[in-house]
Symmetry: C2
Subunit: 105 residues, 2 copies
């Protein structure tokens, strides 16, 4: 049992989004990404079994998918995606997301 | 790919905490529990492999464990626990949590 405090990783970087590994186990990996306004987590996918959640905990932007499609992403929205499905994020304000990947690959 | 909007399940119940199943797959189950101030999610555990996260998205209270131990739980805190480890939550204000269980049992 351990406690993660998201307030401790609230750091934005002018050059690129910041990345913090919060937890890793055979069951899931939990990461926090912080995107300054305008930054993009590019659309990508991995040829692995499993799913992930992208939980917006601050700010807003868009969830990105393939073929230039997108969905509004507000604080309190959670995207669920297969790991093998193209997914990404664009920040329109400073934006924080928590990503949970199960199982880790 | 699907989007969950946590604003849609922000409902508190005077009699007991409310529970919303947000996602279920072979990889993980995601639930939202809303506890009104004073309500308790009693300490429990399951004899299953895997881990869970309890992410506080609003309000505050305590993460509960066995032997009457507890840890402060603020918005933005995430507890990571084995499914087989005793865990619970007490709300001191109206409190919302997102629980992710991997793999579901």
């Amino acid at each position: 049992m351990k406690k993660i405090t998201l307030a401790e990783t609230r750091q934005f970087n002018e050059k690129s989004f910041s990345r913090f590994l919060l937890h890793d186990s055979p069951y899931f990996r939990v990461l926090n990404f912080n995107l300054a306004a305008g930054q993009i987590f590019p659309v990508h996918s991995h040829p692995a079994e499993g799913q992930l959640t992208i939980h917006v905990i601050e700010g807003e932007g868009e969830f990105l998918a393939d073929n230039d499609t997108s969905m509004a992403a507000h604080c309190g929205d959670i995207l669920v995606s297969d790991i093998s499905e193209p997914h990404g994020v664009r920040a329109t304000s400073d934006m924080r997301i928590v990503v949970t990947i199960a199982p880790p690959f």
